[in-house]
Amino acid sequence: MRFSVLRILSRQVYRSTIKKRSTLWLIGIFNLMLLFAVVSGYQILTTQQQIVDEYSHQVRHRWEKSPDKHPHRMAHYGYVAFRQKFPLSFFDFGMDSYVGNAVFLEAHRQNTVNFSEASLSNGLLRFGEISAGLILQLLLPLVIFFWGFDLISAERENGTLRILLTQGISWPELIIGKCLGLFSVSLTIFAPVAVISLILLFCNEAISENWQALGYFAILVVAYLVYLLIVSLLAVFVSAKSNTSKSALTKLIGFWLFFTLILPKISLVAGQSLYPSPSKIEFDTAVEQELLALGDSHNPNDPHFKALKDSLLQAYGVDSTHKLPFNYGGYVMREGERLSAETYKRHQTKLVAIYQKQQNVVRLTALCNPFMAIKNLSMALSGTDYATYHDFENQAEAYRYKLAQTMNELQIKLISNPTKGSSGKQAIISQKHWAEFPDFSHHFPTFVHVFQQEKLAIFSLIIWISGLYFLVTLSSKHFKAF
């Protein structure tokens, strides 16, 4: 393959496409849409960051300013954790609008993460959201197909293809050359938004705590470049394979519809029926029943807690829990919290495993669907995928557990034993203990994590680009010149 030939061919495609008025219009409209998408996405991001900052600050302030009281009261007072948005989330909204934003963390209970954007929205959200990710993944390929569908078939129809081939240009050179031309036209849409996004990324205050976002952005840009290359190559390849321009266009549009609309939905239906997931009532009941079987800390005759009590009395050589050198109530509560948190976690892990399996059905289609591959990868790198959300859920639950247990420890250590009730003088500890308990802060997953999660997507993009390349170079004999 000669570089000079590729350059001539690609430059010819670039110039002839860009010359057209309709192309300029499309490029203009797309750049405007993308500008609007990233700027409004960025606004949403900063507004959300402000709101979360403000409310987290309030939560912390109220926590620290709580008066002296019984630690278990504080455990019930609890905390509210807010989900932060990743600095790159303005680029691809992903699932951000469908997952909750705020969760009330209290002792004994795992609450749901509430107030997703979708729960505050009417049906409009379901038409999709205009984010740079959506435009680049869904709409840009359609435009590339329109620019590229007749790149070779039109030459064939005009009879100029034979002239090209008799001049010693090989089929692979012709296809790759034209593809590079098409790809460079698509860069007039992708490059500006990439630069603007990078600037916006630097503008965001949260970037100083999340430098990894810059690395993610670099990978994201490479991934989109590969994706656009795949789409361009596909357009030219189909154009070369088809007898007429019209059939090339029909095939490409059919391809687009199938991969962007139909296949994801079908794989969803398949995943849903293959791996049914429990409803909240089933889930809660299963947890509750298992907990009842394990032991009820409120029931004085419960075998589990009775055994615990007996062994304690024996170890300390006393005949009543009142004579224990620590607060017995706190001790029981700590045990109860441990049991309930472990049980919940076990069920939660099972549930997430089901979700993962369901998602894997969709994810697996990425192998034959480059659209799904870039969608998953883009979401993961923008911090708007399920893994990132689930990571937040885990952090919130870990924090909740730590809060409840810290309060139980304080009770065990500092509250004298035979007190009744929780508002008497001996049942109260100083508020200085509240400030000692650290604030909740939401961290984002590391690159290894993201890579682990999306290796299939990366793999399938590589398969697609190399597969198409080999198809072009190997099957050149099968193309028709006229």
């Binding site: 939560v59 009330f104 107030f115 049906g123 869904l138 969803l268 239906v269 429990p278 008497g424």
Partner: protein, 455 residues
């Protein structure tokens, strides 16, 4: 002529495949709807079952004080799902079908969500409304984009012009055949849906069907309009596809962004903080003001007193719980008002965009829109209040648990009412159809012959 055109249509492999694809995807969507309804029904039945079990167990073990018992006992209210929702799932997969609440403060309970896989919500349901709004137009476009241009491009146009029958009449016939064929598939699917999903034939279902028919009529009139400009096939296809992308993706998404931007909802977080503060801070404050506030809210409970010198009483406890709701009330009302505003704004804008209008009509008729959820939440508030008022006096007088009939609290149901306003259902899309057809008529009035040599 008509017979020949029909024969031509039936023999065309592409067109028949198109109809078959529509029909098949329609069947899949009905199955998705059925699955959704069954799952929903199952959730409701399970809740009803577990509620009784939960009450029985608590009554058995927490049998000393009714105040403590009611700390645990949950009462469920189910949002009744009409079978029509199987055709348009809308927001029903986001909002819970049942809310189970204790008589403690409601704010901490009413925003609870069901468990769901967010990836599914992102990709969206393959329900009938999706098939109709996204797939039908594509097939209609494929059927119509080369209505005239195919004759020109295949060289048969001059033949058409030389026939006795007027060319416009022939084009109308061609369009009608396509319209009737797509309409048949649509009606067939609706009939199958009626039996498969056991949908009662009422005003809502009729309005649903008419909305669907108007929607496909809109796409036929739009195609007719584009075709009337006498451009070549690829130009028509491109233009129609752009219209499709704009109407199904770009415009709705932009409007959604605009609405979210216009009505931001920071109140959502506010309600959480206020209700939490309202309740929990009362533990550390003197008891009298809390009880006074409570009795100001409910003067009928004035005669109950907190026992002098006591550290704790159920009156005080539930008064504290009440404060959680009372102090978050402003935020909670603001939140609801904002949500209603979002709903109103989008339905007004929807009047001008057929895709949005159709989707919103569907969701409204099948009670799967936000308005339904808000009505449900308001009903939950009433339900919760009613339970409170019933149990408060019993708690304050320490009513004997054994004397209450605990079988009398099965799962309750909320039945929303749909009002079908025919004019707002039918007029917007119908007028857009008329505009397209009239405009196309003006285009066709120009002499067709002039375009013979156009390629």
């Amino acid at each position: 002529m008509t017979g020949l055109l029909i024969k031509n249509f039936v023999r065309s492999k592409g067109l028949m495949t198109g109809l078959l694809l529509l029909f098949l995807s329609g069947l899949i969507s009905l199955n998705v709807g059925k699955h959704f309804l069954e799952k929903n029904q199952q959730i409701i039945q399970q809740t009803a079952h577990f509620q009784q079990e939960n009450i029985d167990r608590n009554v058995k073990y927490v049998n000393k004080e009714i105040g403590l018992l009611l700390y645990y006992v949950r009462f469920g209210l189910a949002n009744d799902t009409p079978n029509l929702a199987g055709l348009s799932i809308g927001q029903r997969d986001i909002n819970p079908a049942v809310l189970s609440v204790t008589i403690r403060n409601l704010e901490e309970q009413k925003y609870t969500t069901d468990l769901m896989n967010p990836m599914y919500q992102l990709i969206g349901n393959l329900d009938f409304s999706f098939v109709l709004i996204y797939f039908f137009p594509l097939i209609i476009i494929a059927f119509c984009f080369n209505l005239i241009s195919e004759e020109k491009e295949e060289g048969t146009w001059s033949l058409v012009l030389s026939q006795a029958i007027s060319p416009l009449k022939m084009l109308r016939l061609k369009l009608c055949i396509r319209y009737v064929s797509v309409l048949t598939v649509l009606l067939l699917l609706l009939v199958i849906a009626k039996f498969y999903l056991a949908i009662p034939v009422d005003n809502a279902f009729v309005a649903f069907g008419l909305t669907a028919i108007l929607y496909i009529s809109f796409w036929f009139s739009m195609s007719w309009l584009i075709v009337s400009f006498h451009r070549d096939s690829s130009y028509n296809a491109l233009l129609l596809l752009i219209v499709w992308v704009l109407l199904t993706i770009v415009i709705p998404a932009s409007i959604n962004a605009a609405i979210v931007h216009t009505y931001p909802i920071p109140e959502a977080f506010g309600t959480v903080l206020e209700s939490r503060e309202g309740y929990h801070s009362k533990w550390d404050q003197p008891k009298e003001p809390t009880i006074q506030k409570f009795q100001k809210h409910y003067p009928q409970f004035n005669r109950y007193k907190h026992p002098e010198g006591q550290d704790y009483s159920w009156l005080w406890y539930y008064a504290m719980q009440q404060m959680g709701d009372d102090e978050a009330a402003v935020h909670a009302t603001d939140l609801k008002t904002k949500l209603r505003k979002r709903e109103t704004a989008s339905s007004i804008i929807g009047l001008f965009v057929p895709t949005i209008h159709t989707q919103q009509n569907f969701n409204h008729l099948s009670q799967s829109d936000m308005a339904n959820h808000l009505n449900f939440i308001e009903e939950v508030e009433k339900f919760h209040e009613q339970k409170r008022l019933y149990f408060y006096p019993k708690i304050f007088t320490d009513f004997a648990i054994a004397d209450e009939n605990w079988k009398a609290f099965p799962l309750a149901y909320f039945q929303d009412k749909v009002s079908v306003s025919w004019s707002s259902v039918l007029i917007p899309v119908f007028s857009i159809c008329v505009i397209c057809v009239v405009w196309a008529g003006i285009n066709f009035r120009r002499p067709l012959e002039r375009n013979v040599h156009y390629q």
